[in-house]
């Protein structure tokens, strides 16, 4: 009795969230699917007609398409690598007994509170600018030629900015994982003479597996959609060197005002993102139980 009652109550409790998200997914998706089969350009509304698969074909054959997929992967993996490795290192560092732990923690998580466009503007103008940026000042101080980051290492520059934004998130989650690590076990291992590296590999890492999984899952979702940072800094260039899939869609939607093309790109992105998600779940999903 109780369980049946509980179960129907549970259903009732789940329903609003599921229904809302279903609507939020189905309505735009349906409309996007519809537009993806239409020739529809905002600037030329009279030319609207049925397009068949043309928008897909056109998006797929864009010379920038494969490069953008490649860039998307590098961007996501690069940022994940920096934030997970950096996050573990920083978490372990600020978990040590130090003076002013609270303030250190505050400083470390601060970048997470900065709006993406603001972060990109600060980095572009004040840090990485080849004439006025801090990096350029440092280079000049050592008598070197300042690096023009966004022209010479465009994708790396963007990875750096995005990683800076997400490092705090990773650090926070990993830090809390670290704090719940069993101190006695660690000490026992230490007494047995296990070197620091082994303690890290056999005790710390497995303990953090679940936290790392959460970091990877949630960040991947956001990283696949990065575009504001690109728009503010490199505009996807030079050439297509820093164009990711989202930015390619952005270009279709907001420069060409090509609603049909952007819709087709959106559908392609959704399909690809879901493939990544399935792959991710296979790879790390078991850590979630």
């Amino acid at each position: 009795m109780a369980t049946r009652q509980t179960q129907s109550l549970a259903k009732l409790m789940r329903a609003p969230a599921i229904i809302l998200l279903l609507i939020w997914m189905v309505v735009p998706l349906a409309m996007t699917l519809y537009y993806s089969f239409m020739n529809y350009n905002l600037l030329n509304p009279t030319g609207t007609s049925f397009a068949g698969w043309f928008n897909y074909q056109y998006f797929y054959t864009d010379p920038a398409f494969w490069e953008s997929i490649w860039n998307t992967l590098i961007l996501v993996l690069g940022v994940l690598l920096i934030t997970v490795v950096g996050g573990i290192a920083i978490a372990m560092l600020i978990d040590k007994p130090i003076f002013g732990q609270g303030i250190v923690r505050i400083l470390v998580i601060s970048p997470f509170f900065v709006m993406p466009p603001v972060a990109a503007l600060i980095w572009k103008n004040m840090i990485m600018h080849p004439s006025y940026g801090v990096f350029a000042d440092i280079a000049k101080f050592f008598g070197m030629q300042p690096v023009d980051w966004f022209a010479q290492y465009p994708l790396f520059s963007i990875i750096l900015i995005v990683a800076w934004q997400w490092l705090p998130f990773a650090t926070l989650i990993l830090l809390t994982a670290l704090q719940s690590l069993d101190g006695e076990q660690m000490e026992a291992a230490e007494m047995d003479g296990a070197p620091a590296l082994q303690r890290f590999i056999y005790l710390t890492l497995p303990h953090m597996a679940r936290a790392i999984t959460v970091v990877i899952l949630i960040q991947t979702i956001f990283l696949l959609g990065v575009y504001a940072e690109i728009l503010v800094t490199t505009n996807g260039g030079p050439g297509n060197a820093s164009t990711n899939l989202t930015f390619l869609i952005y270009r279709a939607a907001r420069l060409n005002f090509d609603v049909g093309g952007a819709a087709a790109g959106g559908i392609i992105a959704v399909v690809l993102a879901n493939i990544v998600a399935i792959f991710l779940m296979r790879a790390v999903g078991k850590n979630l139980d």
Partner: protein, 274 residues
């Protein structure tokens, strides 16, 4: 049990930690410093000591009254968060305590709804907003941001709730507690930290959203993201002014984040990790 740590070691770790922390914080710090510089100082090369002028702030305020976008940001961020929690808490609750075979699939599906690039659905949403009169209203943005962040909220809450030990529930039931008693007296106290940190996270995400909030507003509902968009790349390099506007846009959330830092960490300790 605490190991005796020599002061020397502690100082060593302290220096290392502070170095890393300042390095990470530096871009924000430099923006704050630059906002107190004159425009000429701002591009004159590296200098950590500004002339402490408030001109840039005055200039920014005279060009764009800060109060309205600030209030809009607060209302939109808080409103969408509260709404999301109202919907998500029961759902996450049910998923955590009465899981079915499909619970994990549903969770994954929820996350996957976030994968549609916003820019691809802009025109359809724009048209819907025009037809329904939601354009340039705070209500409209509250709804969109709520839906946008709902999957993350459900996810975070689910992971927190999963950590609440089932034995406690059983014990309460044995004692003859009704479902409502169970929820009010036993589970709620245990769930509060997780809910609080989810709330904080969501406020931050909503505050920082800068696509829909610009595209779906003109004047009445325009929040701080639009405020920033009116200061980026003007004619000439007004970096002190840009810095001042940036500081004004991020300061409220930064300060809130600082104050609730412990809460954020506690909630997360409870949740994501055993």
């Amino acid at each position: 049990m605490a190991r005796a740590v020599s002061t020397k070691t502690k100082i060593g770790w302290t220096i290392a930690a502070w170095f890393v922390a300042l390095l990470i914080f530096f871009p924000i710090l430099y923006a704050i410093i630059t906002s107190f510089k004159t425009e000429n100082e701002a591009i004159a090369g590296f200098d950590l000591i500004p002339s402490f002028t408030l001109d840039s702030y005055r200039e920014v305020q005279s060009q764009y009254n800060y109060i309205r976008p600030f209030m809009n940001s607060v209302i939109i961020a808080v409103g969408s968060t509260v709404l999301a929690l109202i919907v998500a808490v029961p759902a996450a609750w049910a998923m955590a305590f009465s899981p079915t075979k499909r619970t994990k699939d549903i969770l994954m599906w929820m996350l996957s709804t976030k994968m549609m690039p916003a820019v691809a659905v802009l025109v359809p949403i724009y048209l819907i907003f025009l037809r329904t009169g939601l354009m340039d209203t705070r209500t409209g943005l509250v709804i969109v941001l709520m839906l946008m962040n709902l999957p993350i909220v459900v996810w975070m809450l689910y992971t927190y709730f999963r950590e609440i030990p089932g034995e406690i529930l059983e014990a309460a039931r044995m004692d003859g507690a009704t479902l409502s008693q169970e929820i009010v007296h036993v589970l709620t106290p245990m769930a509060v930290p997780g809910i609080a940190s989810t709330m904080l996270l969501n406020v931050i995400l909503a505050w920082n959203e800068a696509f829909w909030t610009i595209q779906l507003t003109t004047t009445n509902a325009a929040p701080l993201s639009a405020f920033i968009a009116s200061f980026s790349s003007p004619q000439g390099l007004f970096w002190a002014k840009l810095s001042a506007a940036s500081v004004m846009a991020i300061a409220p959330i930064l300060i809130m984040g600082w104050f609730s830092q412990k809460q954020l960490v506690r909630g997360l300790t409870f949740g994501a990790v055993k």
